[in-house]
Subunit: 307 residues, 2 copies
């Protein structure tokens, strides 16, 4: 199917992360290796860390004749490109919840990252896995496996990583830049939210709230506020960690993480959201206290259901 395509638009999800961008740019490079034109289409401008690495591959401007989506579980996740969903010939994804909106779907929920599937596609197409392709795929795998720490990591993930790090010039520096290093302001923000974390249900639920006011105080751009979600579950005994963040329109984006048994996607489904069992998201309305109260109530229900 890919061999038959020309002038390919690779669609990734809005609010892009390392896996959709790594997978998207790697697929572009793979398509170019077999003589096609390809470019990534993303509803939002990615964070600086990503554009530093990937913008160099944005070399071709053309009207796509075919569309492939990567790491996009449903049309609504395409953001401003959602109308293109019906034109998607192939969707490559690892979300079990994929709505099968594409003409053909390669959905493998056992894959830790969509990047794993793109790697296998590259091998299948006979593409030489260059440093650029390896770097993009490695970032994808790191992002979705939490640097090989999450339960979705499989032996295959490590075997692919073994191949990729042969090509990535300085994978340790990439790990550092993407996952360890933060600005002073960001460190201060993390300390501030950790120190002000609220606990419920005998410390089994912990909530971080980032209001527009707090964000303005730190002076950090919106994109620098990502990645706070894992913090609550890093506290001993916390099973459900919730991070709520005020959006420009006054609603709250909630990110739910669970430690060992609770189902984050079940909690978020109650608010029309979704995701995986250990990580999911949804949108809440009301002021901070109302938003927090409504999701904490849902978390309690999930705890009662599972324990």
């Amino acid at each position: 199917m890919l061999r038959g395509m020309n002038d390919v638009g690779v669609l990734v999800h809005a609010n892009p992360d390392g896996d959709c961008l790594g997978s998207g740019y790697a697929l572009c490079l793979i398509m170019r290796s077999i003589g096609k034109r390809a470019r990534v289409l993303c509803s939002d401008v990615p964070g600086k860390k990503f554009t530093d690495i990937f913008s160099v591959h944005d070399t071709e401007q053309f009207e796509p004749a075919s569309y492939v989506s990567v790491d996009v579980a449903a049309p609504s996740l395409l953001g401003k490109y959602d109308a293109l969903a019906e034109k998607v010939s192939l969707c490559v994804d690892h979300h079990a919840t994929n709505s099968r909106y594409a003409l053909a779907s390669l959905v493998e929920p056992e894959a830790a990252a969509t990047a794993e599937l793109i790697y296998l596609i590259g091998k299948e197409l006979g593409t030489d896995i260059t440093e650029d392709i390896a770097t993009a795929l490695y970032i994808g795998i790191l992002t979705d496996t939490g640097c090989f720490q999450f339960s979705n990591t499989t032996p295959r993930t490590h075997i692919i990583a073994a191949e990729l790090i042969k090509k990535v010039k300085d994978f340790a520096e990439l790990n550092r830049v993407f996952f360890a290093v933060k600005s002073k302001q960001r460190l201060m923000l993390e300390c501030s939210v950790a120190e002000n974390m609220r606990y419920y249900c005998g410390d089994r639920i912990a909530v971080i709230a980032v209001s527009r006011k707090l964000r303005e105080e730190t002076g950090l751009p919106e994109s620098e506020l990502d990645g706070l979600a894992p913090i609550p579950c890093r506290v001993e005994g916390v099973e459900i960690g919730v991070t709520i963040r005020e959006k420009e329109d006054g609603t709250w984006r909630a990110s739910v993480r669970t430690a060992t048994y609770a189902d984050a996607s079940a909690i978020c489904a109650a608010f029309g959201g979704g995701g995986h069992i250990r990580a999911a998201g949804c949108t809440l309305s009301g002021d901070m206290l109302a938003a927090e109260k409504s999701i904490v109530a849902q978390c309690e229900r999930e705890l009662n259901r599972t324990k």
Copy 2:
């Protein structure tokens, strides 16, 4: 050599970490699999996280007839067992600085962790890599590679990890418990030291100080204070991160980490310490300000030397 031994004492280094303990207990289990008695000898009692996992393997009390050391670069690191150094038949280690004190040495500096070498020894001896052995070796590898993020990680490291996670029942939970989860007090301590971090040389050097007073205030046991050392280098632009911690005798234990080019072992060598290029340690004397001043001066010299 191992096949010819009986009643083996496996020596690990004082102030034990995941790699020496994981390697040590895995080697014991491997020796038992070929019909030998084996036990770990460690100068200090390991932290609770380790005893929870490993104490179940402390099943045999006997007077060792042979000694093997693992992850021990020099006799002085054996602590109260240092007199046994001359009885060590075999040393398995990955420190380039290994002083070759043993009768025979298997020292491979390219190995990310001593646990990699123990895995290869297990395979060589035909041992079935059981869940217990895999768990011990996996902890060793995670510890010394910073969960596959440090530059010492090699394709072989990932290939061995692919084998190990087939056997480790819940490797994600192990990652969580060992590397992500912390107590509320510990989180508060980390925030406190991060907020009070001092910067030098245009923010290229950052210093954390943990006095006995601060430790008493947090109410944390000594063992819970480990692992602060990576914090300073997580700040953008910091090349050398120093953590100094007051010991019971009033001297200061310094842990030096470097980000990308400075040599931590060169800095610590000036105070009679040592280690690796990215992580090293030494002991400092004087009050807090004097200790900090002396090591910061040495860090500046290293920055001037390398840039």
